[in-house]
C-alpha cells in the first residue's frame, strides 16, 4: 500500500519536488476556497484565474518561460482586476459578480490576444496545463512563500472576514475594516491562483482551491472543521493525482483536479452532513 501510493516519490526527485509544491498549495488554497464558497463567490475564482492570463502572457512575451516574470505579471493582472472590480462594486450599483465578469472578460480577451501575437500553440498549452513536474527551487520557494503568507494573512483578518461574510452591515457600523479586509482577501485569492497556475496551470488553478472546500462541506459543519478537512482533501488529491499521473503517464494538473473531483463525488455520496446516502437512510428523528 505504502509502495503503491508513495513509490514514485521515494524513487524520483522530481516527483518529490512536485509533491512538496502541491502540498504547500494544499495548505493555502483550500481555506481561501472555503471562504469563497461560503460567500457564494465560488465561480469568482474561476473568473479570476482567467484574469491572470494576460499578465502571465506579458511576462512570457518579455522574458520567455521565466517563472518570476510570469508570476509578477499574473499577480499584477489579477490584483488589478480584483481592485477595479471591488472599486466598481463598492462605488456603483453594479453587484460584485457582474463587475468582476466585465473586468475578467476584458482581461481574458487581452491575454488571448497577447499570447496569439507571439506564442505558439505549445506555449499556450504550457500556460494552461502547468508544469508541476518541472518545479525548480525558485518555484518551490514561491509556493512555500504563498502558503506562509496566506495562512498568516487569513489568521490576521479571520475575525473581520467572518463578520464581513455574515453581517457586512454590522461590521460597517462598528468598524472601517470591511473594505481593507475585502481587498486583502481578494489579494489572497489572486496570490493562490498565481501559485496554482505554476503547479496546475491557469485552467485548473481553481481546482485545488474549490473542490476540496466544497467536498469538506459534506464532512464538517463550521469553519473550525471545514478548513482542516478541506486541507486534508487537497493533500490527498495531490498525492493520488501525482501518483496516477506518473503511472498512467497523463498530464499532472488534470490528474490532481480529477482526484479532487473524485473525492468530492465520494463525499457527496457518503458524507456525514447531507451526503446522498445519509439522506436515503435517514436516522429516526429525535423526540425534541
Amino acid at each position: 500500500m505504502i509502495d503503491l501510493l508513495f513509490g514514485p516519490f521515494i524513487e524520483f526527485g522530481f516527483m518529490r519536488r512536485a509533491l512538496v509544491g502541491c502540498l504547500a498549495l494544499s495548505l493555502s488554497a483550500p481555506p481561501v476556497g472555503v471562504f469563497l464558497m461560503l460567500r457564494r463567490m465560488s465561480l469568482m475564482s474561476d473568473a479570476m484565474s482567467h484574469a491572470i492570463l494576460p499578465g502571465a502572457a506579458v511576462g512570457f512575451l518579455v522574458a520567455g518561460l521565466s517563472l518570476p516574470a510570469m508570476t509578477l505579471g499574473g499577480l499584477a493582472a489579477g490584483l488589478a482586476v480584483a481592485l477595479m472590480a471591488g472599486f466598481v462594486t463598492r462605488s456603483t450599483v453594479i453587484k460584485e459578480d457582474a463587475s468582476l465578469a466585465a473586468f475578467y472578460l476584458i482581461s481574458l480577451a487581452g491575454g488571448v490576444l497577447l499570447v496569439s501575437l507571439r506564442g505558439s500553440q505549445i506555449d499556450l498549452l504550457h500556460i494552461l496545463f502547468g508544469s508541476v513536474l518541472a518545479l525548480d527551487d525558485p518555484a518551490l520557494w514561491l509556493l512555500g512563500g504563498i502558503a506562509t503568507v496566506t495562512l498568516f494573512g487569513l489568521a490576521a483578518i479571520y475575525r473581520p472576514l467572518v463578520m464581513e461574510c455574515v453581517d457586512p452591515l454590522f461590521l460597517r457600523t462598528v468598524s472601517r475594516a470591511g473594505g481593507p479586509v475585502h481587498y486583502a482577501f481578494l489579494g489572497l485569492v489572486v496570490m493562490n491562483l498565481v501559485g496554482g497556475f505554476q503547479a496546475l496551470g491557469t485552467l485548473l488553478a481553481v481546482g485545488l482551491m474549490l473542490l476540496p472546500a466544497i467536498a469538506a462541506r459534506f464532512w464538517a459543519s463550521d469553519l473550525s472543521g471545514l478548513i482542516p478537512v478541506s486541507m486534508l482533501i487537497a493533500m490527498l488529491s495531490s498525492v493520488i493525482g501525482l501518483d496516477v499521473s506518473y503511472r498512467a503517464d497523463v498530464p499532472t494538473g488534470p490528474a490532481i483536479v480529477l482526484a479532487a473531483g473524485g473525492l468530492y463525488l465520494i463525499s457527496m455520496l457518503v458524507g456525514r452532513r447531507g451526503g446522498l446516502v445519509h439522506r436515503l437512510f435517514r436516522a429516526r428523528h429525535l423526540e425534541a
Binding site: 483578518i157 475575525r159 467572518v162 455574515v166 452591515l169 454590522f170 461590521l171 462598528v174 468598524s175
Partner: protein, 281 residues
C-alpha cells in the same frame, strides 16, 4: 452596565435619500439622551432611511446629523433579512461580534465568555451557545441579535422593525429588555408598525411620512387626523420632480446640486400642535 447619558442626536434640515430623491425630507429635531422614541409611518415613509442616516450608513443629501461624542456609541439592529444566516457560525460567535469595539480583530474573546452567556440567558437562549445560526427559528434569531445588542453595551440603540414577524411572547420578552435599557438611561429609537405597542411602551413618537408629520408625546402624535395625513402623503417618486428650492440658509454656500421634489406644494412647516420635537423627556 448603565452609563451616564450625555449626548443628544440633533437633526438639522436633514434630507436623506436615494438617487437625489428624498426619502427623509428637511427633518429638524432633537433626540434627547435617554429618549425612548418610536418611529412610526407608512411603508416608504423613510423610517429605515432615517435610522441608516443616523448610524452613518448613507450620506446626507442635505443638512446634517449632530451626534457629538456618540460616533462610537451607536448600536444598530437592521431588518434581519440583511444577514447571511446560512453561514456556519455558532450563536455564541454571533453574539461575540458585539465585543468588536472592545476586542478588535485579534484580542481573545475567551475572558468575556461569562458575559456572552449572561447575554444569551437574558434573552432566553441559555444552552443555545453551540447551535449554528442557520438552525434558529425567526424568533430565536431575533433574540440572539438582541443578545448581541446587550453585549455591545451601546448608549444609543437604533432598532429597525425589531418585532416584525415575531410572535407575541418573544415580542413581550424583547420589549421588556428595551424597557430595561430605557431604565439604564440609554437612548432607544425603534421603527415600529404596531400602534398599540407604541402607545403602551413608547412615551415619545415621531410620525414620519418623509417629513415629520408630528413629533412629541405619543398620545398627542398618534391621533386619527395625523395618521390619515401621514397615509395621504404620497409614497411614489415623481421622476419629473423639480429641484427643491428649500435650502438651509445657515448652512453656508450650497454645494450639492440639490435634490428633487416629489410634491411641489408641500407645507413648509408641519402645522401641528404636537410639533414640540420631543424636548419633554
Amino acid at each position: 452596565m448603565s452609563r451616564e447619558p450625555t449626548g443628544a442626536i440633533v437633526l438639522r434640515g436633514l434630507t436623506l435619500g436615494y438617487d437625489r430623491h428624498p426619502a427623509v425630507h428637511h427633518l429638524d429635531g432633537t433626540i434627547p439622551p435617554g429618549a425612548l422614541l418610536a418611529l412610526v409611518g407608512p411603508n416608504g415613509a423613510g423610517k429605515s432611511t432615517l435610522l441608516k442616516g443616523i448610524v452613518g450608513e448613507i450620506p446626507c443629501l442635505e443638512g446634517r446629523i449632530e451626534r457629538s461624542g456618540l460616533a462610537d456609541a451607536i448600536a444598530y439592529l437592521p431588518q434581519a433579512a440583511e444577514i447571511d444566516r446560512s453561514f456556519p457560525l455558532s450563536v455564541l460567535d454571533l453574539v461575540a461580534m458585539g465585543l468588536w469595539r472592545r476586542l478588535g480583530p485579534w484580542r481573545s474573546a475567551r475572558p468575556h465568555r461569562p458575559l456572552l452567556r449572561e447575554a444569551l440567558a437574558a434573552v432566553g437562549l441559555g444552552g443555545f451557545e453551540g447551535r449554528l445560526i442557520g438552525t434558529l427559528s425567526g424568533g430565536q434569531f431575533q433574540r440572539a441579535l438582541f443578545a448581541r445588542l446587550i453585549v455591545q453595551d451601546a448608549r444609543v440603540l437604533l432598532l429597525d422593525e425589531p418585532f416584525t414577524g415575531i410572535d407575541g411572547r418573544t415580542t413581550a420578552d424583547l420589549i421588556a429588555l428595551v424597557r430595561t435599557w430605557h431604565g439604564q438611561g440609554r437612548t432607544i429609537v425603534a421603527a415600529l408598525h404596531d400602534l398599540a405597542q407604541v402607545r403602551s411602551h413608547f412615551p415619545q413618537t415621531l410620525l414620519l411620512a418623509r417629513e415629520a408629520v408630528a413629533w412629541g408625546a405619543t398620545e398627542r402624535v398618534l391621533t386619527p387626523h395625523n395618521l390619515t395625513r401621514a397615509q395621504n402623503l404620497s409614497e411614489a417618486w415623481d421622476e419629473d420632480a423639480a429641484v427643491c428650492a428649500r435650502h438651509g440658509g445657515a448652512e453656508g454656500p450650497v454645494t450639492a446640486i440639490g435634490h428633487d421634489h416629489a410634491q411641489h406644494d408641500h407645507p413648509h412647516a408641519p402645522d401641528d400642535a404636537a410639533h414640540d420635537h420631543g424636548h419633554a423627556a
